[in-house]
């Protein structure tokens, strides 16, 4: 799937640029894209390093286990393949909590820890996503944000009479997306195994 999307964007992009008579923008765009990617990764080093340190402390103090026990009824349903008390569960819970609170820069490192822990549970092809990883990413990309801080800030800058009036609509829309994410994840998994 990702192969086709990637190839599609590359091929269509180059062809459209050629047809429009400005094929030279492709070279520039490719380099710019690569630069943004590396810059993003470099920026990530700082926050990832910092939060990995804090997470290790939280784990050593037993806090992650307490937290993941608290939400166990939900996580058992969503991630049946992850053993109880496994560190992956703790990291997933921390990541989703950070997402909900809109703490974007804390949620990413925790998500990466969750992926590493889930990868340790991967008994199949190490290049192929497991069921739990797919569920985790479906939840992650659609996760409820209670306060979309960035957009509220922009509304404020451009003189909105009520910058936060979109909080309710945002929660509604994101809840709909999240429901479908969980449903589609289960449906696609079922179809995936049946199709094999």
């Amino acid at each position: 799937m990702v192969n086709y999307i990637w190839l599609g964007m590359m091929v269509i992009g180059v062809l459209v640029a050629a047809v429009n008579g400005h094929v030279e923008v492709v070279t520039k765009a490719a380099l710019e894209g690569a630069q943004v990617a590396v810059k993003t990764a470099i920026d990530l080093i700082a926050i990832i390093t910092f939060w990995l340190g804090i997470m290790k402390l939280a784990e050593a103090a037993g806090l992650v286990r307490v937290l993941s026990r608290l939400v166990q009824p939900i996580t058992r349903f969503l991630f049946p393949s992850v053993p109880k008390d496994h560190p992956a569960m703790g990291a997933i819970v921390m990541n989703l909590s950070a997402n909900i609170l809109g703490l974007g820069n804390a949620s990413t490192p925790m998500g990466l820890i969750a992926m590493q822990e889930l990868q340790k549970l991967n008994r199949g092809d190490p290049k192929e996503a497991t069921d739990a990883m797919c569920t985790f990413l479906a939840l992650n990309t659609s996760c409820i944000t209670l306060i979309p801080t960035t957009i509220i800030g922009i509304r404020l800058i451009y003189g909105s009479a009520d910058p936060t009036e979109i909080v309710g609509t945002t929660i509604f829309a994101t809840a709909a997306g999240m429901t479908v994410a969980v449903f589609m994840d289960r449906l696609m998994r079922y179809l995936y195994y049946r199709g094999r």
């Binding site: 799937m1 990637w6 964007m9 590359m10 269509i12 992009g13 459209v16 640029a17 923008v25 765009a29 894209g33 690569a34 943004v36 590396v38 990530l44 990832i48 390093t49 910092f50 990995l52 340190g53 997470m55 290790k56 402390l57 939280a58 050593a60 103090a61 806090l63 703490l103 804390a106 990466l112 992926m115 590493q116 889930l118 990868q119 290049k127 192929e128 996503a129 797919c134 990413l137 479906a138 992650n140 990309t141 659609s142 306060i147 979309p148 960035t150 957009i151 922009i154 509304r155 451009y158 003189g159 009520d162 609509t169 945002t170 709909a176 997306g177 994410a181 589609m184 696609m188 995936y192």
Partner: protein, 179 residues
């Protein structure tokens, strides 16, 4: 309601930074050593994502700069206008799963042009707030552990994005009425 949640967001990290080391210390953990031990992997984790991010962001960048994105918008707009979906927000809807920065830029531009309290301004605010950069998240998270076969992840992610979009349009019409 908003005040409480907003306070919670502001206090969450400082409280974590106070309590986690403190409780660890009480539990007899060598706090400094443990922190460094955990932080050790930070560099490697971030660096590992580079090839995956480069691959994805180069493709997205070419797709956008070539005018292919505008072409898709041009084809879809007339159809979507009929179902109460303003053509102005279509570039945002298409860009949202691909690039967080670019979609935020588009949202900002729409808010600036039409005003934050216009129907379109409120709709694009809802869309920006309720969705995430699906391709970026998938690339980054899978890339950090070296996974290149995403199975059906993209389909479930994109159907969630699509639902969020439809729900945004629906709830914006309900609450803010058409312009």
């Amino acid at each position: 309601m908003f005040g409480v949640v907003s306070d919670l967001s502001r206090w969450a990290i400082p409280v974590v930074l106070l309590l986690v080391p403190l409780i660890a210390m009480i539990r007899g953990v060598n706090v400094f050593e443990k922190f460094v031990e955990g932080a050790e992997d930070g560099f490697a984790t971030a660096i590992k994502t580079i090839p995956f991010l480069v691959a994805m962001l180069v493709a997205i960048s070419i797709f956008r700069a070539s005018g292919a994105l505008d072409m898709v918008v041009g084809i879809l707009s007339p159809v979507l206008n009929r179902v109460g979906f303003p053509a102005e927000v279509l570039p945002h809807a298409i860009m949202r799963p691909l690039s967080g920065g670019a979609s935020l830029g588009i949202a900002t531009d729409i808010i600036k042009t039409h005003g934050p309290d216009s129907f379109i301004g409120r709709l694009v605010s809802t869309m920006q707030g309720s969705s995430d950069t699906t391709f970026y998240v998938l690339t980054l998270y899978f890339g950090s552990v070296g996974i290149s076969k995403y199975r059906y992840s993209i389909i479930s992610g994109l159907s969630a994005d699509f639902t969020t979009l439809v729900a945004s349009v629906y709830v914006a019409h309900k609450l803010f009425g058409p312009a």
